[in-house]
Structure formats: structure tokens, C-alpha cells
Symmetry: D2
Subunit: 424 residues, 4 copies
């Protein structure tokens, strides 16, 4: 199903008066609203193909209905999201879950929805039915060179798929680690991983990047071979200029100061990409901004500061992606809420009075530093985000229109009640 | 020093136009603004006497200037805060740091500043110069009955002081615990503590309450004898109807869901009081709302829901107090920021559409539940908080006026640059 | 397959000389060795049926071979373990994974292996194919009375199954909770859960118990309706004398002092049962004693102290069970290691010089308290555990004999390489 | 006071029979005992001057009696420890707490006690009475160049003091950080710190090293400018070959895998030194091995493996030091317990069958890997540690002899009951 222009306009018309009132107020009281809107319009957050279905835990999964059954339907879902918010114009595929049958057709379909292909994700944390060697004890770090070779070749295959689709990034998340003390020689595991990554790196086309993701724990519960940003940065530095660290908000130990990590990776010119989600305990993969919205704002505050300091374009300087798991919500509603929270945090960060902040920092005026950040965060910028969305051709209220049009019910009638999307 | 009515009005006049504009906007778009204002005006947050000076850590303290040197000056400082925000109309004293010389004079002084005396705090976590027995190994839980007796008598003495001042609550925080496995028999420590508390309880006047605070760790680093809400509730239930649990936001293990604890204690009719602060790692005692403002809102959401469910008055149903330590900010500015963040979170919680939330919860419409809470949190209610403050006779911008009038500089010239307030 | 007496004796003969040497040394230097042996022999740890297969995470599962395909084969596996260690003489079943077809036959089989049926476990955290209502949004706490009724009836059915098998305990773990702020009214969720539990409680036969398990998080990532020991104890107290709290070592927030919780629950006469495992990050479900063996010892130290203080028999006073997930080891080897670590910790705790410890505690001689505990923990009591096992008819080295006899290979040839046990 | 040879021998004679019995048993059953003893004898753990007095928290300090009042008395205390255990043959001084009056006399005194001077520690986390600029807002990272200059000069002065004493290492722990979001520009703070460190680095004599310590939090509670091993390693790499990372066990976020960090820093040839202590919650500074002895063993397991892999001498390859705070024990007893736990963990790590472990790792035989480590850890190596101590000329039971000789009482009679050592 697709949303028609008439449906969109009717919805926006109904919202128009209230929106104008609130937007006029904020536009009258804030000076840089137009600049913020312009940046918001350019900013696109990639949607991972696996987040379009209901997620689960080791204790089970409670599927919803109408989940996409194929890569085609996944792109259709992302197309729907992008139609509604005009901020989700990129798809991040996962191999082997999303191997296209016909590249030209898939590229054309993406074009139809106005989507590009963001980072390609490889999978060496699960065994596929036809696989020669098991990843039970890891992949790129495995003691057995045959397993490493298989995993390296898989990653190179993912690059090939990405070339066909017009992607320019390989994103590697390794589950490799250990569950018990003694299971692993940490140094050898690091060095074997490095060698494997070097082989993959050598296969990268000229203009490609590789993102090296880190994670503190899960699915291994004693050690992870790329466990924190320090380890990821070591790999990225040893690999070369095409290698970067990828930060996933849920991949840290309790109480970690993620915004400081972001700032330092930008300083080192090694921050590559970003996985948005939120969490209270571990890698909970909850909706972005649903648990710690101020942290999300603080991270954007560092991103804006750091990208500007390096002269990077906000929209293209880093890879922006959601990585979440929707266990109890409609996945599409959840993704709309996530993108909305991200845009809001970005808008707030753009509004920070940076000159005043720098002056207050130089004076150690801690009270004022806090006031400046809180002033931006407490300002209700939803009308500005909405205005940007409207100007870009999206809906005043994406979740609202999604519900008005009963999109989920339509997807169920198209696809069935018992579908299960490939992926987590 | 005191702020004159002229100074206040001049400040408010300057702020008037901008305030009216923003307040009119919110008043036009939100229905229950007057009700919120009325509740905000009634809501008072007690200021602890020890938070008026610069705090420190075990690594040292960097004092600021003009700190209060006596109980008189502490009340004067709280009077200043209350003059500015009209929401700090209560003082919480700490014995022996704040033993009054002349009760009548102190009561008169408090009346002058329009302050009442909130909960009285005892201290058995430090040795005083003239003390017979040491609290090195605890107080109410101590193996030696003589130490317990001394600690019990100190608490009864604090009640006596409180009676003189017109307080009606004893607040007990015990540092009692152990630093090493084996140091303590947990069961005996619990039972000895219970006996001690029962003796103190027996000394409570008819209309008094006792608050039993819990804390996960620090200053003991292996166990704390009243370590969590479950233990505090056990004590409160065994003691009787005058005993309640006190929740300090910083006294939990990492990732604790404090709002759920608050809800259940209200359900059990055993939530007594609240210590506001914020933290990232432990009992960091930072400015309320400075790290996790959404958590603060969620806690107020439960407080409003639970107080309403029990038919309790928001202003008097619980004891509200700040407990923070200001290591790098002017303590008075910090306290103004804390009270402001508390009022804002309270206002946001009051604005939650409770009927809609209940309906969404009953339907398991998780997306909508989140939207309802986020809608209240994302609304900029600072104009409403400001309006309440102005109507109550406070300043449009308390920190702003405090700076305009150079109050800290005046306090320094009155009291000196090298004063150190008694307390932490 | 079963281990013959000849195989066992041949193994034990080979180990005999080295064992005697080490046992004689410890028997000569420790006074209470015989008493410890006698208690070790009585002590039995129940094996949960779901721990006999390879576990997994939400990211996948790497099955091993020869996993039990039926309840019969599960009992056979537990029989093997018990044959090897003589300390695993109880099975804990999980309904609906383990519904017996023929009770008499199953009871007879258990008798053959010398096993009894420990606590029965219900499952309302997953949907079964034929189920009328979904547990996606919880079970006993559900807003919809029809879902609660279904879940209550399931639990009552599990009691019925247990009666047939000769069990006397129902163990309830609820996944009920919420993933997002606002999703749940905590108070109503608690009260609905209480009502549901009361209906189940009413169906308990005279001599039965019900264990109420708590868990901090997972599979819900914002709140859990029975989230900590305080909440579980509230339920147990409101339910009545047959209700007890069950402690699972992995179900706590970071840094929790579990041994103190154990001590206080014993004090309150509400500790019912125990789930052993180990963890570094969350509910990692690793082999008992593999990460924090000193913590395991400290917990046993409290168990011994508390059971003795209440005059309870160690073997029957509480329900002892392993609850682990074996993702990278042979499940049977893992369980043998777990039971061995538990027996060792229990033996160490039995060896603590309690009179000396009490005296040191009363003197606040912290150095000595630590020395006393460390002395017991540092003593190598493996010969004592081995002696107890040998006297009971087990193997000198259970994992060793399991490997010598190539039991896994035999199970694979019997059952196949691609079996997947029902359960997690 | 000093312990006489007669006193020592009499104590050892009394312990001799029991020791011989237990040592003979272990020597008969373990093959590499002599090699372990030889390494234990060489291994020396430096004692920090500030750990000789009673520590405290921000809530207070409960002093013990007989604390050292001067650098002379501190060296005398370390001399006592070394006399007892022959493993504490180094002192780590802290400037300005330990500025010597007469270098030659101090060097002579150290020689008398058979002590060398280990790493010198600077202090820019507290203000000294005569200091021009305050460190309230940091030192090496400070926005004001004058503050940075003062801090740099202090560090250079500490190097000068160290040269006089024969030390060859400067150990820098920075409290620099921030308490509130916005207070600091992380990137600029990093870069200013780097510049300051470069100036200090330039002042290092030829054969000196500088250790850059990291810490997750405290005394700053939002960010720390050198917050984790990744940041410390960045600094060490940018500084040059004389710069190394220092690991303090208590300076990590909850659940961190410290042994993996240790392994990787050794791999990078950037591990410089080690601060031993133990903790449950934060930087609790408890006795080494008192909370997580298995973790201590696992860390030593990596140290032994990594030092051997690089061909480094265990005794001199890294800087070994205790950094603890003794709040409830006699500091000297606490230090004896710490050193003993360190020696025990080191001995256990030396006993790990490394060839077997490597083979098991290469086979992914996780069960066996665990068995190998647990076998070493569960073996009672106290007789081996004792034998090493006796051969080196120490006491059979250091804490026992300390108590028999009533050393604390003698120190009190020499120094008084109310002394307070300089330092924390």
C-alpha cells in the first residue's frame, strides 16, 4: 500500500491551524529557526531492514501481523516511513537476510520510494543452513583459519552486494567473544581479528568505508573481542583511513559517558557511524529517546560541535542509522517515534548557543553552562521539526496519519496475520 | 542581605513582556494551566541546612566564599532562596551542626523569612569531639549496647530540638554497614537496628513521623544495614503507623527503576519523604534534573498518580526536600536550579492526560502510552512555572536576579572569603 | 545409555591413590571433615529439564548433538548426572515443555534413576500454538481478566501435574513487566498480579509451597512487575504461609549484595528456593561458580548460618536448583561443573569457624572476620567433596569419567546430531 | 619500633611443624613449586605512603592510633611490613604530603629498611595553602594557561624530588573532569591535557617513565578527562615511548572486564603499572582480594601470560603498587592482607598449566579451559607463599606476628592515640 498525495494533504490541512500557531510562536522567539529547518530537512536516518518486524528475546517472540515477507516488502515499509516523515530516506540491508534476487529491480524500487542504500551489514553471529563451518566459537577471531576464511569471504561477498546496490559502507558487528574465563587468549583473538579485518579491508573499493562496531557484552557474557571504543579505535587505526568506529548507544557498560566517547572519536577523525536506540539495562534496543532523552540531546550536542569543528557536513559526515528491536509495539510506529525523537534532539542541539557556551566554559561558569544546555533542551521544538517535515513533503503527525489510514490493518490484509520478517 | 521589593519588581518588570508572550501562548494551548499554577504555588521544597555551603569529596573540598557561618546565616540563605522562588519555604536542620542557641529567636527568624521547619536530621555517621563512644563500626546496629544507647539518645535529643522548632518529623539516615565480607551478621545487625529504632519510635510525639532512609552503598562499601527500599519498608512496617520510608534519588544500584519503587511505596501507604538530587554513577548529589530530567518527570508522574489515588494533598502528603552537594557551583545558584527543575517536572507530571493514559494502558497501546508521557514532557512549561512564581511573589528569573544583585559578592563582603559552612 | 558399576569402579580405582593422599592430608588438618561429608552427601541440587539442551540468545542458538528429545530422555540425562555425582537426585520440570504422557511410567523411570520431582515450573512468558490469549503484554498482571484467567488456570494445571508426579512446590517466574515508561500502571499491575496469585494459592494442596521468583530485567526492559526481593516478599507476605521468595543469582541489578538479601529472607522465614548460576553482566546464566566463586561461598555462608539459626535441615529446608543456560559447552559437562562448584562452596561454608567469627564480629575485629572467611575459602576442599561423592557411590571425577566413557558421542549416536531439546 | 631477629625466629619456630606438613604436601603434589617460590621471592609490591593512615570518606574519618606523623615514620611502617612479609620492599611517595627535608637521610633510612623508592605521585586534585591558582576546575586540562603551568611545574618538581630519591617513574592521576553536562568541551580538555603532559614528558630524565592513570568517575561525577584505558592509551601513544598506562582495579565502570584490558595493554606494550585494591561499587579501595579474589587471579593470569609473551621480567616489567584506603581496619594489618592476597593470586597464576590451556583454547574446549583455571585457583597455595616468605626472611604469619608483638599498641605509645597521617 502507498499513501496518496490527497491523503497526506488532507491530514496536513487538518493540522495546519494548530501547527501554524505553535510554529509562529517559536519562530518569533528563536532566531535560528530557518537554519535549523534547513539542516533538519537534509538529515536522513537509515532504517535497518531487520527492524521492520517484531523483535524478540531469548524467551520468545510475539509476532505482530503484516510483517514484510521479502526485501521488496521491507523497502515498501521503509518507503512508507519516508513518505510520512521524509527523514528515513535510506535502507540498511543485512546479508544473508536481504539478498536481492534482481539488483536492477531493487535499485529501481528504492528509487521509486526515494531511498538510497546505506551501510551493508554482514552476519557472522549465526549459522546459516548451508554453512561449512560454525560460528559457535566466533568468526573473525576464530582459532581455526578455515572459519576465519569463511567469515572473511562472507564479508567480501557483502561488499559485492553493496556495490551492486550503490552502497559505500560495510558495517561489521562481531559477536565474537567468550562466555568463560580462560576460553580465549585475548591477545591472540585480537590479532586474529585484525588479520581477518585486514583481508576484508583489502577488498574495499576505493571510496568505501568499513565501520567497526563495538559492544560490551551479549551474546557472549564474559568477554567481547571488540568490546569498547578503545578496542574499536585500535582496530580502525591499525586498518587504515577507510576504517572507522561505529557507536551503538546500547553497547556500553552501565553509566558510560557516551557523549565524551563521541567527542573524542570525532577528535581522532575516526567516528564513522551511529546506531540509535535507547536502553535502561543493556542492549535493550528500545525506541530512541524513550528512556534517556537528555542523553540523546547531549550526544547530538557533541556531534554538532564535533562535526562543525572538523568542517563536516552534518547529513553526510557520519552514517546515521536506527538499530532497535520492537518487541511490544508496531515496528513502523516505533520507528516513526525513534526518528522523531532523533530529529528533536538534533534540533535542540542545533539551537545551543555555542558562543555563549564556549565563553561560559572558559570562565568555568558551571551554572551558566548548564542553563545554556537546558535552555535548548527545554524549548519545545516540535513545531520546528514538524515544519521541516511539512516543507519536505511529509505528514504533520506521522504516527497520527499512520493510524488514521489504518496502515497496519491494510498490511495485514495484504500480507497476512502470521508473517514473520527475516531477521532478529 | 535581603532583596527589596523594589529590586524584585524592577527585575520582574524587565522580564514581563517576554514572559507574557510565552505564558499567553501556553495558556492558550493547554487547558489545565490554572490548576497547575495553583498546585505549583502550594508546593514547597525544603532546603537542607548543609547544602548551603560548598560540598566536597574524600579527595578534598574547594570552598567558595561567603558561606553561612551559623544557623542564623543558614536561615538567611534559605530566606533568600525563598524570596527569589517562593518555593523553598522550609528548612531542614541537621543536629549537631545546627543546634539553636535560642529557640524563640530562631523561630522568629524563620517566621521573618516565611519558613517552616521541615524534617529534623540526626547524625550518627560521624564522631563529635565530646562523644563517649565512636560510630566507627556503626550506631543503631552496633554490637555494643552502649553505642546503640548513645545513638538512640542522640535521636531522641533531635526530636526534642524539633519539638522546640515546630518540626514534626525525624529523618534518620544510617551509615551503618560493613566494608568487608564477614564483618557483620546481617540478621543480628537488622534486629539490633530494629530495637534501636523502636526505642526512638517510642519517643515520638503523637503527631510526629519518622522517616527511615535507605542507601545502597557509601560510606560502607560491602553492605549497608538499611540498603534498599525493601529493607526500609520492613523496618517501617515493624515499627508502626508513624514510620515511613524515605527515598533519596541517589541511593540506588545502577539502573534501578525508582519510579516503580515510588509507586509501590505509595500503594503500601509507606512513602514518607523524598530527597531530590541527580546522579550518573552513585550518590553523586548533583543538581536535580541535571543528568536524567526524564527520570525526574517519570518519578513525579508516579507521585502525582499515587497521591491522587490515595486522596493525599500534593503539598503536604509527603516530605519534599533537596539533598545535594555542590562541589563546583555556587550553592545558592545550584539550589535555585534544583528547585526550578523540580517545579518543572512536577508541572509536566500534572499535565499528563491521565484518562487517556489509563485507556491506553488498558488497551496495551504502548505507542500511545509513550506519546502521552512524552507530550507532557516535551511541552515547554517554563512559562507556567514562572507565572506561578510571579503570582506567589517571586522573581521571574531567580538565578538571573541573584546575579544581577551580585548577592554572592555581598555575602562575601559580609561573611568573608574563607568561611566554611558546617556540614558535609 | 547408562554407566555400569564396573565402569564407575574402574575409574574410581584409577583415582584412588591420589585421592587418598589428598583426602588424608585434609582430614588430618581439619577437624570437622566427617560432619561436612555427611552434610554433603545429603545435599541434592535439582536439575531443570530445560538446562539439558544447548541454550541460546536472541541472536541465535548453536545446538550441540545428542540433546534429549523427550521427557524420558531428559530424565535419562539427569540420571546420568546423578549417577556420576550422586548430588543431582532431583528433576525440575517445566510445563508445557515436559507434559508427561504416562505418569506412572515417568514416576517409575525417575525411581529407576533415584530421582525425585522437585519444583514444577509454569510458563506464561511464551505463547503456545493453541493458546486463546497472548502473553505479549503479560500474564498474571494483564489488564484483561481473560488473559489472567488463562494464566491462572495454566498454573493450576501445573499443580495438578505436580501432584501426579509427587512434587510439592510450584515455582512461578513471571516475565510480566513493561518495555516503556507509561506502558504500565505499576500499582494496578501489582494488585492484579496479587489477585491472580491468590487464586493460584487457593489451589495449592495442603503441604505444597509456592515460590515467587523476582527478576530485575529481561525480557522486559523498563520494568518487571516482580522486580526485586522486596516486591517478591510483599507478595509472599500477602499470600500466606505457603508462599516464599525464590532467589535466582542472576536476577539482580549490578553490584547487588545477594548474600545480605538471603540472610534477611531467612530471617523473615520467607526464603523458599534458590536458582544457582553465575553472571558478569545480567542474567547470563553461566556455570555456577565460574565468575564469582567467592560470592557463591559468601551466599552459602549466609545460608548455613541462617538455616542453622532457624533449626532447618540444610538438605530439605530450601529448594536447591540450578538454572543456567549452556551456550558454548556440552550441557551435561556444564551441569557437572555447576554442581561441583556448589558442593565446594557449601563445604567451604560448613568449615567456617562460626564461634570465632561471632566473637570477631562482636569485637569489630574486621581483619580477623576477613581472615576467618578467607581461611575457609582458601582451603582446598575438593578432596572432601570427592570423598563425599565416592562414599555416596559417585565418580571420583565426574567430568573425567563422562569424557572417558565418551558419553556425548554415545548420546549422539542414540539420538542424532541435530536434536533440539524443548525449552530455551 | 623494629622487630628483632629473635622475635621473628621464635614465631617461625612455633609455626614450623604445621607449615612443613602443609608445604610438604603441596610440594609433593605440584611440580613447579620451586619455580613459583623463586618468582614469589623476587616479586615486590610498593606501599603508598598515604595508605599507612586510616582513610575516610566524604562523610568523615574515624582515625586509629599510632599513625605515622612524618615521612620518617611512614618509612618505618613500610619497613615493618617488609620485615614481616619481605614482599613490600618499595615505597611510593606522594608530593606534597611527603616532601623530604634531607634527601641523604631519607635515602639512608630507606636503605636501612631495605626499601627502594617506587613511582612518585603528584597531586593536583587538592589546593595547598600557599598555592597561587586553584584546582577546583582541574589542573592539566584547565582552560586557564596559568593553572596548567602551575600544575605542570608541580609535576616537574615531583620528578626532581624523585631523582633525589632514586625513583625512576612519575605516576600521574588527574581528578580533572566535570560534574555537569556542558561544563567542559571534551575535545579541548583532552588537547590541553595533552599539551600539559607533553611539557611534563619533556622534563623526564633519560631512563624515566611516566604512568598515565585513568578513572571512570569520582571526584568528578559527570566526566573524567582521562576516563578509561582507551583515553589513557591515546595519551600514552601521543606522548612517546616513556609513557604508559596505569591500571587501578577500582577505576572502572560496573562489570568491566579488567583482565582483557590488561592483556591488550600488554599487547600494545603500553601497560606501565598497577594499583591493587578491591571494590564492590566504585573506587571502594578495599583490601586486595577481599571481594573478588577470582578476578584478581584472572588478572594475574593475564599478567603472567602477557609478560612471558613479551619476555619481560615479572618483578621489574611493570610497576606494582597497592592503592587502598583503610577505613575500618588497622592500616598495617590491611596492607599485610593485601600483599598476601596478591602473592597468592600471583602464585595461582604461575601454576596455570599454560600448554594445556593453549591446547584447550585452540580446540574450543571451553569446559577444559575452565577446569584448568579453576584447578590452579582452587589449589591451596598458601604454604607455597609462606615458604617463599620464610626463605626470604619473613614471618610465617605476618598478621599473627604483628598481633603477637602488639605492634599497634607500641606505635600508639610512641606516637600517640590521636595522630593523623598526612594524605587521604
Amino acid at each position: 500500500m502507498e499513501i496518496t498525495q490527497n491523503q497526506l494533504e488532507a491530514h496536513n490541512d487538518r493540522a495546519s491551524k494548530a501547527h501554524q500557531q505553535s510554529f509562529n510562536f517559536i519562530a518569533a522567539t528563536q532566531q535560528r529557526v530557518e537554519e535549523v529547518i534547513s539542516k533538519l530537512i537534509s538529515f536522513q536516518v537509515a532504517i535497518p531492514s531487520w527492524a521492520l518486524g517484531t523483535g524478540g528475546t531469548r524467551f520468545g517472540r510475539f509476532s505482530g501481523g503484516g510483517e514484510p515477507r521479502s526485501l521488496d516488502e521491507k523497502l515498501a515499509d521503509i518507503g512508507l516511513l519516508h513518505r510520512l516523515n521524509q527523514s528515513s530516506g535510506a535502507a540498511s540491508l543485512h546479508i544473508p537476510w536481504d539478498v536481492p534476487q534482481d539488483y536492477a529491480a531493487i535499485r529501481q524500487q528504492a528509487q521509486h520510494y526515494n531511498l538510497r542504500f546505506d551501510a551493508m551489514n554482514s552476519n557472522t553471529f549465526q549459522d546459516q543452513p548451508d554453512q561449512a563451518h560454525s560460528y559457535k566459537f566466533g568468526s573473525l577471531h576464530h582459532a581455526d583459519p578455515a572459519v576465519r576464511k569463511q567469515a572473511v569471504e562472507h564479508n567480501i561477498e557483502v561488499i559485492r552486494q553493496g556495490i551492486e546496490l550503490g552502497s559505500d559502507t560495510l558495517s561489521i558487528w562481531l559477536a565474537d567473544g567468550s562466555c568463560f574465563p580462560g576460553q580465549l587468549n585475548f591477545r591472540k583473538a585480537f590479532q586474529r581479528t585484525l588479520e581477518s579485518l585486514q583481508e576484508i579491508y583489502a577488498a574495499l573499493p576505493e571510496h568505501w568505508k568499513v565501520f567497526v562496531e563495538y559492544k560490551a557484552f551479549e551474546p557472549n557474557f564474559y568477554s567481547t573481542t571488540i568490546g569498547d571504543w578503545g578496542q574499536s579505535l585500535l582496530f580502525a587505526n591499525k586498518l587504515g583511513p577507510k576504517a572507522f568506529t561505529l557507536v551503538d548507544l546500547g553497547h556500553h557498560l552501565p553509566n558510560a559517558n557516551i557523549e565524551q566517547i563521541v567527542s573524542l572519536l570525532l577528535m581522532e577523525e575516526k567516528l564513522g557511524g551511529f546506531h540509535f536506540n535507547d536502553s535502561k539495562y543493556g542492549d535493550d534496543d528500545l525506541t530512541a529517546g524513550s528512556i534517556k532523552p537528555y542523553q540523546l540531546f547531549l550526544i547530538f550536542n557533541e556531534l554538532v560541535e564535533g562535526l562543525d569543528a572538523r568542517g563536516l557536513d552534518h547529513a553526510t559526515g557520519l552514517g546515521w542509522m536506527i538499530d532497535a528491536s520492537h518487541n511490544v509495539k508496531d515496528p513502523l510506529e516505533d520507528l516513526l517515534q525513534s526518528v522523531d525523537a532523533i530529529m528533536l534532539a538534533y534540533a535542540q542541539a542545533l539551537l545551543v548557543d555555542r558562543d555563549a557556551l564556549t565563553a561560559a566554559q572558559d570562565n568555568n561558569d558551571v551554572t551558566l553552562c548548564q542553563e545554556i544546555l537546558q535552555d535548548a533542551f527545554r524549548t519545545d521544538l516540535r513545531p520546528v521539526v514538524r515544519e521541516a517535515r511539512l516543507r519536505a513533503g511529509g505528514a504533520a503527525n506521522p504516527v497520527g496519519l499512520y493510524r488514521e489510514l489504518q496502515i497496519r490493518q491494510q498490511l495485514i490484509s495484504e500480507r497476512g496475520l502470521k508473517t514473520v520478517a527475516t531477521g532478529l
